[in-house]
Amino acid sequence: MFSKVLIANRGEIALRIIRACRELNIQTVAVYSKVDQNSLHVRFADEAVCIGPAQSNESYLNIPAIISAAEITDVEAIHPGYGFLAENPHFAEICESCNITFIGPSAESIRLMGDKVRARETMRKIGVPVTPGGKGVIKDVKEALEIAKKIKYPVIIKAAAGGGGKGMRVCHNDVTLTSSFSMAQKEAEASFGNPHLYIEKYITDPRHIEFQILADKYGNAVHLGERDCSIQRRHQKLIEEAPSPIMDHKLRKRMGDIAVKAVKATNYHGVGTIEFLLDSSGEFYFMEMNTRIQVEHPVTEMVTGIDLIKQQILVAAGEKLRLKQDSIKMNGAAIECRINAEDPAKNFMPSPGKIEELNFPGGFGVRVDTHIYPGYMISPFYDSMVAKLIVFAKTRKDAIRIMQRALDEFYVAPIKTTIPLHAEILEHPVFAEGKATTHFLDKFFKSALEAKT
């Protein structure tokens, strides 16, 4: 087991990792930018090193600074969290060459799954269902039109180096496909440094179902069930839950077995998430694989009772997986609301500033993963998520009730947050009935806006 680990991240996930390390008796090193010097993760770690000024590319994305900090504090491993360098294969390689264990999959796995075209092709060859579409990178508009004719409209153009909902365009006919193609190439080049595109059939009104997987370095792998992340706004998740309200044992076994098969076939180790789209007829298709711990991991932890960060560290340290698939059960229901410092009334404008008043919800079934405290200064340099509010109950209906109660107790002032928005979503009959698809939120906003005018 590692004796000392450096956490190359900030905010709530850095704190989450420090907590797991403490329970495993591992010494922790926090790194921080100048503006984060009063952060909780800095205070809770055993050691802390300032690595740069506020700007992410000079601090949390600054590989030499982080490696240097790892060397002077003499750590054995680095946990990259999510975002920042978590899916940077170059960083994983540098750690390896410096004899520091990167707590995550191999650089090769990260690279493979980071190239969305290669990932898709790899999955298809293994026998994982993928959305109908082209086989590789599309050469030109002519090829795009040919593929679209075969798979039928609507289609979606995606950037090969993209992911996370960025750089995608839906096209309903030849005219829009032709006009979108070269623009999409330019956008892809600008955003990801790579103009390559691929094309898929656009699944109308799908649910976003993702499977949590865990694999060791000896070829053992399990899945820990699914999460339903259909409540999204512009491809950014707002609310996640486990299990999915429409999942049954048979479908879970089918999808879970495929997820494990994919993991074993690609020699993957660590935690990961395989994202699927589930259409209204019950067909599911591979969308992408995330080779990191995810923001919404707590809902899986609540229903399975398994600490995913600890498992991640154990596996990275070379431990054999002790979990067996048939002993992993999903009990009860968990829901997570991502609380962002944004003003929903002003088109989600970020709301940085000092937190003057703060009251966290509590009680039976409530978990808050956060880095904020009274007097904390939310800086404008990083993402706006300030807390994750997670609830757990025996039934989904009970979980919704607890979440409503908890959101009501959650008081933050004077900064604006998305707490009122979550309360409204939870009251909506579509959500209550478990019928929300990825279009729900946009439809919901449209009707809410119409109601106001």
């Binding site: 100048k34 010097q37 009063n38 909780l40 205070r43 090193v49 300032c50 690595i51 740069g52 000024p53 601090s59 030499p64 600074a65 490696i67 240097s68 900090a69 060397e71 002077i72 504090t73 410096c98 703060l358 405290y373 009274p374 007097g375 904390y376």
Partner: protein, 154 residues
């Protein structure tokens, strides 16, 4: 020592993350200590709002100015580390240090090396002045923004 000077010292303490400072000058001695006020309304973790406790005492007259313990005062500047790494006073273990206490240095003069990932980075002074303090030891690890040399500009 007037209120303006005290306020400046407190702000410098904040910038350099110091908990306590004691300064003895001709005409007085002052000690400023950051404390945790147990009655503070902050519910969260410690050290959110930290009140300062200022103690002054009349010093014996004509006491010589003591060297300020790790602190800067209003007429000094710090050369801070621009990166994380290990601080070295000399270009190599056998060589003499680049600069020494009391030395007058020029703008652009190499004052030390900060080694990061096996690369030796020469650190140059932005100021012209006299080195009055070197708060870091040779071969000590340093972080971004850490003061390496305290200079009295000339």
């Amino acid at each position: 020592m007037n209120l303006k000077e005290i306020k400046e010292i407190i702000s410098l303490m904040n910038e350099n993350e110091l908990a306590e400072i004691e300064i003895e000058r001709e005409g007085g001695k002052i000690k400023i200590k950051k404390t945790m006020d147990a009655s503070s309304a902050a519910v969260g973790p410690p050290a959110v709002a930290q009140p300062y406790r200022v103690e002054t005492q009349a010093a014996p007259p004509a006491a010589p100015a003591e060297k300020a313990s790790p602190a800067t005062s209003e007429n000094t500047k710090s050369i801070t580390s621009p990166m994380v790494g290990t601080f070295y006073r000399s270009p190599s273990p056998e060589s003499p240090p680049f600069v020494d206490m009391g030395q007058i240095i020029e703008v652009g003069q190499v004052v030390c090396i900060v080694e990061a990932m096996k690369l030796m980075n020469e650190i140059k002074s932005e100021f012209k002045g006299k080195i009055v303090q070197i708060p870091v030891d040779n071969a000590e690890p340093v972080e971004f923004g850490q003061p390496l040399f305290i200079i009295e500009p000339v």
